[in-house]
Symmetry: D2
Subunit: 364 residues, 4 copies
């Protein structure tokens, strides 16, 4: 296959282009008996969908999902779940220029070299539009994990361009279009993004995503460590250039006696490791951070080449996010949910008979 | 499977514990006709092996690899290659204490909860000893990629604890036990590691790994992006807590008009993206950075619990690396080679008939 | 995942129930540049679709396929291809009886025990209706293999119940609803099926499927032999209970000096092996035979139990095929095409650089 | 990968050539806590090993297996299990003739075309010698399934060349070198094989393999049906040319009202389906039959070509089985065990929470 699937047991396969007929996903391996309706998926789709604030692209897509299969009388049947979202706002426009020119910082050049040609309408398959189906599939995993284990997966933006959030109040996160938990940072974010849009440019962002109440024992030794699979899932999101687990890059400068998370019968004394030890969940909160680069779709002209291998300039008109990190929170949550669901199932397949020698230590 | 394989077409499967009979790997999918001998693998194994300097563990393991199958008359046959390394220096010692106690910052606790019990001898499967087989398998990929494409995969240490390398001279990297390209940083690294060992603690590290001359077009859209698979491979190395591609976390604070890498017919004007656009190699140098946490195996006592769920203290005697990052360079190179080899084969499977519309742009 | 995908590089994933909203498939790994339209898929879908003769179910389904993604300007792009078929003739009927009762010879009982409940509408996922998507996906593989290699994949029915076809004229195969190449057998088949339908019962069938002009060298040693993957694909078709390659079960009674297919520079002298040696295609015609059991959906009452675990009788009203083998030929062709396409790509990934020591022997 | 692995969760990966250094297997996914020693594996290895009767090859291989990893204090740890068998009886002989000539009916020709050259020593990877590792890995699955579920997996030979066994007494199966349950057929088998060896030829065979007490619910809908995966596993055994489940090819001539297996609260009334309905185990005995072709390694000269593409004759000296079916029973049992183990784990991963609506029907 060519990379359009993720997960080994909870397996999500997607297709669809930005300006084609629509998006599809097939989610295989979902345990039967989970109550599931389109509304369950729509909730997170609406958090991600474009056109909801002036800090995101103005493309209007209702992202209305239809469950085609795998649910009967309101419950998952255990067979593969089919999801369909029709594209509705593919503006008829003249793609002539984009068709012949490779936008710098985009997949235009690499797709053309790889495949010989490309669907240039809105970026085709390389558009972040495909992330809608990640969110829909992730919502199934999220719901299962919440109902069975009480797992809470949630994210927030910690940085937009040079502006940094200093505090975190989870109650504030849904109250602003940035998914930011620092009420004081929001006006700074607003001013920055507005100014960048006026200047015809864009900026990067940093997010933190947490999973609380993950049981101890999920993950695998060696290659498919839980953190390795999380890194894979996160780095597969458009524009992500860095992934950290726990203290992340800060560990390079740390020392063993302070960084190891000591255990007591009352609980762990710290969580530098981000909830994963030896590739396996420790029962502590899983902490992940990611950085997204500024979108290259900006109205400032940039040097590039065209299909005839001639030097030219290009600027990207159309409706684009000035900071793709703004809408990335539900996507990153979905990816974390997909990985955790997959590893729950992998763990259960092998280890359901295991009797742990004692009750788990409380998480920190 | 339980996570002991990596790669879809170039597939490496390993087994073996730190203090068991030895390590094995089966490498499936290797193209036939590659000249291969044990010496080809030994070269990188010797770069990784323990006991070669006072800045690494004093365990003496020759890590002598035997090719069991898949090579005939000096060439790979196309069938699966079997590799075997016997353990030779498993010191007979009293594991009694470690057997009953969970070392903080280690996989002891999570393995026990996951599997019900664990092979406590030297960490068993969770020991970094398993990385020897990564290096051996990676050497096959490295050799193929070098011979067919001239690809150069090499890494160096940029930080040991708080000490940072400022310059890079590739000629210096093999001349010191740290794989450091800054000759002036080496004495600082030596002093730091010596001091930490005396204090009974350890430190983290940061590495950069590059792949030069990778052709344009390798990688997949969506989930199995080349960068996503690199992130997976790197985060699967023991102690790694962060992975960056290109500018990595710095992109969060950057702007679109400076970060996008403009193209001209003379070449790319920059390489912020780290050689990957839309998940697909651009022909530029692939740049990866990783951070490794300080090992938790230190002689400073730490709080923990025992198998009876009682509070206790533990300190780790034995022969341990004061900075696991010191020996990580050949491991990270091997992981990058494995990912690239796999994606070369994936690309060729689907796209060998493609005629690209023009000759690739020169890398930057 | 839960078994709704097939193929490693040419990978088909499907979903959809008999009486749900429709069927979907995502076909990943298709090489770019293949001219493809809905008409290419419709041709084989029409050969399989129900309601076209009185010897098949009377359910009317146009099986009109829509390509949702992966095709641009009439050519495959190399990204995942999405296919959608809406169900249109799900007769509103009272399923009450079937809902509570397990039809013998069906998946009703096993699905209920596996998943706790089942979508009882027309068999849900266990209905042969899902095979429509096999045919659609297989048509992509067929087209590619025909265009690039001139491979011809075609099948015919050799037995319907106790009635056997004695001759084979490929020109006759499309001229009768049985896909039978023996014009004299057709009236016997017609009489038999008509009589069985009147008697309220059904019968089995046997098919042969051939692939001509498959190049030498496709397949893998050991587990994923070409014949092993063909056996997997064929046995995955509803009602199939036996698979033969080449001489099949007859080999049990044969001798080495007659069964081995001798080679000369003019060609092979026989093809007992069915075109596969050591799991790898020999360049000869690949010969596969399969047997399908009589459908259990008949109007003769049968003993069974109900959801309350009480003894009861059941008979299956509704619109059913009196011999599921009648429509199986395009399905089996599709499965063979999918396997061959996958192995072509696997072979190319590993062995595209191989220079064979001499030109292949002519096929027999 | 190139086909040297089988199983999705219980995953067996092998390597090794007939006349190389030895054979290796890595078995990943084994549940922890299973008591396992080399003796557990040796029992079935000894049933398969060569040189034990005059009706099999005279090559002497003790097939002594060493467990390299994954077992600690007599129990599986949950990490990957490494197995090693050294080759000991690779007779130094002149391969010159075989090296240049392609034995008809062997993989010599196809391997050479696929890979450009081949390891010609004793057939290299295409030798049935690789099946030793199937038996060793299968023994792990067999032991687990027996201990947890009481599953009994056993096979017997029903036909050797034209001679057929008429009765089945399981007690007789271990008493003769043919694994035959018909004491009266044994002398006929002996006479036949002796005579064929004298004539310089070989014959085919047919086997039946059963799995009793498999719980209801294992298997998947659609592509990875339990029967499809069994067909894959069986057809992957050297020389197998046909696979049947339940009544197999006989179903082609059967009728719906007799073939469907009616259910009552007392149990199923028949088992034509072979214990699998809709791809999922029904709780009845799983019945599989396979046919193996006569080995082509015979002393009667046969026409072939050589590496220079010239016509020539070849006869195969050396030590070969006159009927490869004779030693196939433990191999086929192992393959069935591997598939069942994998599907048990797949089932548990997804469906461990399912509460079936009633207690299962008794098997027939």
């Amino acid at each position: 296959m060519a990379g359009n699937s993720i997960g080994q047991l909870f397996r999500v396969t997607t297709c669809g282009e930005s300006h084609g007929a629509g998006l599809m996903a097939i989610v295989d391996g979902v345990p039967p008996g989970l109550e599931l309706s389109e509304a369950d998926l729509q909730k997170d789709l609406d958090r991600r969908k474009p056109g909801t604030s002036k800090f995101a692209t103005q493309r209007k897509e209702p992202d209305q999902v239809e469950i085609i299969s795998g649910v009967f009388e309101g419950k998952t049947t255990g067979t593969s779940i089919g999801l369909l979202i029709r594209n509705t706002d593919q503006k008829s426009k003249d793609y002539g220029n984009i068709a012949q020119t490779f936008r710098p910082g985009h997949a235009d050049y690499t797709y053309t070299q790889k495949y010989g040609f490309r669907d240039y309408r809105g970026g085709g398959r390389s558009s972040a539009r495909e992330t809608a189906m990640r969110v829909a599939a992730g919502a199934i995993a999220k719901k299962f994990l919440a109902e069975k284990f009480g797992i809470v997966i949630r994210g927030h933006v910690t940085q937009i361009g040079p502006e940094v959030a200093e505090t975190l109040d989870w109650n504030e996160v849904p109250n602003n279009p940035f998914f930011c938990g620092d009420v004081d940072a929001v006006p700074r974010f607003e001013a920055l993004v507005t100014s960048l849009r006026e200047q015809g440019t864009s900026c990067g962002a940093k997010l933190e995503i947490l999973a609380e109440k993950v049981p101890v024992g999920w993950g695998e030794p060696v290659f498919d460590r839980l953190d390795a699979d999380i890194a894979h899932a996160m780095m597969s999101i458009n524009a992500v250039k860095g992934v950290e687990i726990g203290d992340g890059f800060a560990v390079a400068g740390q020392f063993g006696h302070t960084t190891r998370d000591e255990l007591t019968t009352e609980g762990f004394l710290a969580n530098h490791a981000g909830g994963i030890l030896g590739g396996i969940s420790s029962g502590q909160t899983i902490r992940v951070a990611i950085a997204l680069k500024p979108t290259a779709s900006i109205t400032t002209p940039g040097k590039t080449i065209n299909i005839n291998r001639e030097d030219t300039d290009v600027l990207t008109k159309g409706r684009h996010d000035p900071c793709v990190g703004v809408r990335a929170t539900p996507i990153a949550e979905a990816m974390l949910a997909i990985v955790l669901m997959d590893h729950f199932m992998r763990h259960r397949a092998q280890n359901a008979d295991v009797v742990a020698p004692f009750t788990p230590i409380e998480p920190k």
